[in-house]
């Protein structure tokens, strides 16, 4: 999180005739992410005709354009103008956020079974994904590594892949961040609600399907509900639970609590525990651990 990371050269490129891809930095950092957020927010407010979809992401963003209404090169000029106006880091930016308690069972039997089927696509065919993650991140034991994964909350810095999947960037200084590669070749199978890790990002897979992230655990509660059966989804009239800018506290649970949450989900009574808050990037960057402690206090009292 140094100034130089936030000031790297922005790269504008065309994703065919319909998309413009803007990479603020090849590397992930919170200052870069917040700049992407400030730019895409401004772009949304300007409501430029021909801009069809705005997709903020980790250290980049993407815009879907109707080239019959707005020439993609003209869009790039608009985006460059907005980037200049927004500046290198918007100190005053705040994000309407929630801190959410998300139970997670690490080293669970379900992802273990699947990951063992795909060792031929993995960097280390002999071990497990957790053992591999612990080793390459310099942890003495897999248990220490698991502790680090659940020690501090994460910020949702991107949504997508499939509906509702949150990319979560752990809110800790760089030297404490976990980083792992994606599989050499993606799996054709990932269990529903798997907790995965790729690059510097944790995710929960909303549904079963293909996937390339290291598999570390399993969440008992759904993050996608296509029929809006559960109250969290019905009351917000949304099929996805998470939003950009949410803060997620992954809380380790054992098999007993996992099964208990599953039973509540089956009964249709499960609700996430969360509190609304304003997330201030500049405050966080000035005092990461203090901000995390204060947010957890809001959530757990």
């Amino acid at each position: 999180m140094t100034a130089t990371e936030a000031e790297t050269e922005t790269r504008y490129d065309h994703g065919g005739d319909e998309f413009v891809y803007v990479e603020l930095s090849a590397a992930m950092s919170l200052p870069v992410h917040f700049r992407s957020l400030a730019i895409t927010r401004r772009l949304g407010e300007e409501a430029i005709p021909g801009v069809e979809e705005i997709c903020p992401s980790n250290a980049s963003y993407m815009v879907r354009v109707d080239p019959d209404r707005l020439h993609p090169r003209d869009l790039v000029r608009e985006l460059q103008r907005i980037e200049d106006e927004v500046g290198s880091l918007s100190d005053g930016l705040t994000v309407a956020s929630r801190i959410v308690d998300v139970p997670i069972m690490l080293n669970d039997p379900w992802t273990h079974e699947v990951l063992m089927k795909f060792r031929d696509r993995h960097q280390d065919p002999t071990g497990t994904d957790l053992d591999y993650g612990a080793r390459i991140n310099g942890y003495a034991s897999t248990e220490d590594f698991i502790d680090a994964l659940a020690a501090s909350p994460y910020l949702v810095t991107m949504m997508g892949f499939v509906p509702g999947l949150p990319w979560c960037f752990q809110l800790v200084p760089r030297e404490r961040q976990v980083e792992v590669p994606k599989y050499v070749r993606p799996r054709t199978e990932t269990p529903e609600r798997a907790f995965g890790f790729g690059g510097a990002f944790a995710v929960i897979y909303p549904v079963k399907g293909a996937g390339g992230y290291q598999l570390f655990g399993s969440a008992p509660a759904p993050i996608f509900d296509g029929e809006q059966r559960l109250p969290d989804f019905a009351e917000n009239d949304s099929v996805v639970f998470f939003q950009h800018g949410d803060v997620i506290n992954y809380r380790r649970v054992d098999r007993e609590e996992y099964d208990d949450v599953r039973a509540q989900v089956d009964a249709g009574t499960w609700r996430y525990s969360y509190q609304e808050l304003e997330f201030s990037p500049s405050r966080f960057l000035a005092d990461p651990d203090g901000t995390n402690a204060a947010m957890k206090e809001v959530l757990y009292g």
Binding site: D13, G16, A27, M28, S29, A59, P72, P163, P181, V240
Partner: protein, 323 residues
Amino acid sequence: MTIRVQDPGLETTVQDTGRLGYYSIGFPPSGALDSFAYHVGNALVGNEPGAAALEAVYLGPTLEFTVDTVVAVTGADIPAFVDGEEIPTWESVAVSSGSVLSFGQLRAGARPYVAVAGGIDVPLYYGSRSTYTLVGIGGFQGRALRAGDELALGSDARDVKAGRRLESGDVPVHPSTAEVHLLVGLHSYRLTDDSLARFTDTEWKVTPDANRVGYRFRGAELEFVPREQPFGAGSDPANVTDCGYPVGSVQVPGGVEPIVLLQDAVTGGGYATLGTVVSVDRDRLAQTKTGDRTRFVPVDLDGALEVRRDRLGALDRIRSALA
């Protein structure tokens, strides 16, 4: 006013122009993979441009009509029959209540479309009738059709006559080697110059792993430029910091199996992409099948926009002529 599904074929789904506006939370557009075939089908039966139609793949469905109506079969080159009599494709055909539409063996292409006057009437889901089977939403109960399903038909069909047809010169041919235009870019700098040249020189073979989410190809090995990976990407040379994937973008995990994303695309991820297939050429990919070959012809942005203009201009001309 229904269609009874006697035999669903391999994977027949309800599709329209797609579900726009939710890409940023992970909803791909879905919608007809071969947009040209879908739009011409609707125009032939007198539907509004966004009416829902059926998209099949490899094997056509067997459908019984419980109403007198007009249908058109477009897309793949496949014999179609009404009550056992072969009917012309790319042409509106009258069917009577009790008639059965069926298909023979695919001759070329991969996906036939069935447009019906009034359109297929399923509930709108996030603004579209398109089926997205990966998460089980939209279309008919969020899934491919099964024997015994009854599909309601829309009632706002204009009065159209049978025998309206697409000029034979406008009927797409489906060569066994498809050529699609590629705008190289995104993370193409991650590949060596040799590998990028190899990508556009190679005739890639469609693997069995080819569906509405994307097509995987085999044919050559590509190499990445060695580098110290940026923080957040992950250590594998194919990794980038996770970002949005354009529909039509080409990624190359492991360097051996390029994947082109189609209408049910995953909307983002962390594998390096080397470029994007021009939108109108996704129609051509949609009509390739396992074992077929594909060549990626490089174009710049102006070239991509020209391909788009030509193809959409032709569609506009055809629609006006049929209106």
